[in-house]
């Protein structure tokens, strides 16, 4: 018995070591110099964490009014905004294509299309089934409009940075850090200690009161950054809520099954010395 307990402890320890080293290996934070990353507690953290819908809704407003002048959400369709677990989900509209908010958001964008009568290229208002359209016609145009820099797509940006949501939030609020001595900024580059190398092509995108929130929340830089990060976290991992709830049931089921199998094992082996 003692032998087996030890074995179990050892296997558990091995699994934990593997897990921790894996986490440590994957968790490379960005950042340079003395800047200390602020680690926020996000609503979506933890095994039962969900997206803060109000924050994500405000975040969409920030994206639409600020970020979307340069950054696309190429993997998102408008209908995704009304999916279960999404910022604008409404129980009354299980099909997000019927959701009036989603329809409005879509119609707010102009989509390039082909007129089926004439074959001409036309612009029409978006519908929920449309994807978020490209901001620039091509990469060269994007670079030309941004002093050579290429604004990255934001659909999976939170997953694509080592620090995740913390990285994006810190990047957005760290612009007021004074430029340290010895850092030479060429034209079109800005100092941001969170960015690898400290230099970023994007100028500070947020400033006090830049958007006017419908729910009366004060639009500080910190607030807008938090909100848009919450929105982008959802955009990067839109199925997180369903995954966590299925995960909880799965693990509960497996745990019960493990207990039952343990007793089955004890019973089958009851007369066997080993």
């Amino acid at each position: 018995m003692a032998m087996k307990t030890k074995t179990l402890i050892l296997s558990g320890t091995a699994a934990i070591i593997a897990a921790v080293s894996g986490l440590a290996y994957a968790a490379g934070d960005g950042g340079t110099g003395d800047y200390e990353m602020v680690h926020k507690h996000w609503h979506f953290q933890g095994p039962f964490g969900t997206y803060d819908k109000a924050a994500a809704q405000r975040g969409y407003q920030v994206y639409r009014e600020v970020c979307s002048s340069c950054h696309q959400l190429q993997h998102l369709s408008f209908r995704h905004l009304g999916d279960k677990g999404a910022p604008f989900y409404n129980k009354a509209y299980p099909n997000p294509n019927d959701n009036p908010l989603v329809k409005n958001f879509a119609a707010d964008w102009s989509i390039e299309d082909v007129d089926t009568e004439t074959g001409d290229i036309i612009e029409r208002p978006g519908v929920p089934a449309d994807k978020f359209p490209p901001i620039y016609p091509n990469v060269a145009a994007a670079r030309a409009s941004n002093g050579g820099g290429l604004p990255p797509d934001l659909s999976v940006i939170v997953s694509a940075r080592g620090g995740g949501a913390d990285y994006i939030h810190n990047l957005l609020v760290a612009y007021d850090t004074p430029v340290p001595e010895g850092v030479e900024l060429t034209a079109g580059l800005h100092y941001n200690p969170v960015m690898e190398g400290g230099k970023i092509a994007m100028a500070a995108p947020l400033s006090e009161g830049l958007v006017e929130y419908a729910d009366g929340t004060e639009a500080t830089v910190e607030q807008m950054s938090t909100d848009v990060t919450e929105f982008l976290a959802w955009s990067a991992d839109p199925k997180m809520e369903v995954r966590k709830s299925v995960g909880f049931m799965t693990m509960l089921y497996l745990l019960i099954l493990a207990v039952l199998l343990w007793f089955s094992y004890k019973r089958v082996w009851r007369n066997v010395e080993h």
Binding site: L23, E196, S264, Y265, V268, E273
Partner: protein
């Protein structure tokens, strides 16, 4: 095929008819009653766990292949589409990606178990070699599969690995171009990698069938390494080991589920969420965690070709291990000195993994002050030397000079305590 007499009796006309023509039901029944040593511990459940991993990877992989688009312009998007729009794609895609990590975790446990209990020694040399072949094909499959999502690490990992072939003298460059289907990793590369990634799992499945065949021919090894002598030394595979394996499988699935549902990205790299860009090299190119030790061995020497030869040697040495280890004693339980060297070996394998993840010029924490002391290149050199020394120096010499402890006469005697020292041996 197995040595034990068959107890299967077909009861019905149809099963009798089939049994005379293709005794496939008999084979299944014989597998179920296969006499297995009665002292197998939980480390021996990983074979079953690995079979489950392979089946899971094949099923999820086939479904993913129905939705994935192997084209450089659409591959990255199609993976995102699978995760966002394909029914249960949010579950299947991470299950396949996390499943690869779990597969390698299980195979490493399985291999170290084989090393510890001497499962490669006579008469199991062929069983072991087939296992090494499976591992080799697994590595190829894992590498090819990692290219498919077409993220930055996919692309640059593939560029680095296929670059090795360019270091082969004389034919290197043409070999590399032939493999890539061009001068660089591009659409032709992605297409053939996809085709091969779909093919190789079935090669693994075939090798597993031969592995299991060989296992049923020679029988399982066991923690004390003493061959079962009488019927008392063994138990019928079913129900004894089916229930024990089932329990272990469910515990393994709990760990799997934890990563799948709560940390799906923890074992991957953030850069792979950035679409491949041939013009932008990531600052640190690292392979998947399960290749890190070999990556560290590769970078331990300054010469590219020498590094590649060392890396190949690190796997090749496993194939000849049955003839390198001169000790006739299988289990390390009775080889206290060898056991110490084994744990150091395991420790250095972790160290190599650590070195593989770090930048070679960086200094090792706790072993350096400022830029004085040990850097990761030197740490990986020390670990690489030990890795090879363990196989080609320590095991060959130790087998000739060490004094193994007395071994019990039989498994039953070991359990019932006739030979006190072995029954009390801890289960490491």
């Amino acid at each position: 095929m197995s040595g034990h007499p068959s107890t299967y009796e077909p009861k019905y006309g149809a099963t009798k008819w089939l049994d005379q023509r293709l005794p496939i039901v008999r084979m299944g029944a014989d597998f179920m009653t296969f006499p297995s040593p009665r002292n197998l511990n939980y480390w021996y459940t990983f074979g079953g766990i690995l079979a489950l991993c392979l089946v899971s990877q094949i099923i999820t992989g086939i479904i993913l292949a129905m939705h994935y688009v192997p084209h450089i312009d659409f591959a990255f998007d199609s993976v995102q589409r699978i995760r966002r729009d394909v029914p249960f794609g949010w579950l299947l895609q991470p299950m396949h990606a996390v499943g690869a990590s779990m597969f390698f975790f299980a195979v490493y446990v399985h291999m170290f178990r084989g090393l510890y209990y001497g499962s490669y020694k006579a008469p199991r040399e062929v069983l072991w070699i087939i296992g090494c072949l499976i591992y080799l094909v697994m590595m190829a499959t894992g590498f090819l599969g990692y290219t498919l999502p077409w993220g930055q690490m996919s692309f640059w990992g593939a560029t680095v690995i296929t670059g090795f072939f360019g270091a082969v003298p004389v034919v290197g460059e043409s070999l590399q171009q032939w493999l890539l289907g061009g001068y660089a990793v591009d659409n032709a590369t992605l297409n053939r990698f996809f085709a091969l990634h779909y093919l190789l799992p079935f090669v693994i499945a075939a090798l597993v069938a031969v592995h299991v065949w060989a296992l049923h021919h020679v029988g399982q090894n066991n923690p004390i390494g003493i061959t079962p002598k009488t019927q008392k030394d063994t138990l019928s595979f079913h129900p004894y080991y089916t229930v024990k394996d089932a329990f272990a499988v469910v515990v393994f699935l709990l760990i799997f589920a934890f990563f799948l549902f709560y940390q799906p990205d923890a074992l991957g790299h953030a850069d792979n969420y950035i679409q491949a860009d041939a013009l932008k090299t990531p600052p640190h190119i690292v392979p998947e965690w399960y290749f890190l030790p070999f990556y560290a061995i590769l970078r331990a020497v300054p010469d590219k070709l020498a590094g590649i030869l060392l890396m190949i040697g690190a796997i090749a040495v496993l194939f000849v291990l049955p003839w390198l280890d001169t000790s006739k004693v299988r289990s390390m339980r009775f080889r206290p000195v060898a056991r110490g060297f084994f744990w150091i070996f395991l420790f250095f394998c972790f160290i190599l993994g650590w070195c593989g993840a770090e930048t070679p010029d960086n200094m090792v924490p706790f072993m350096s002050v400022g830029d004085k002391g040990l850097n990761f290149t030197w740490l990986s050199r020390i670990a690489t030397i030990y890795y090879f020394a363990y196989f080609v120096v320590i095991l060959p010499i130790l087998g000739l000079v060490e004094n193994p402890k007395d071994r019990p006469e039989s498994i039953t005697k070991a359990i019932l305590g006739d030979t006190s020292h072995s029954a009390a041996a801890p289960a490491e």
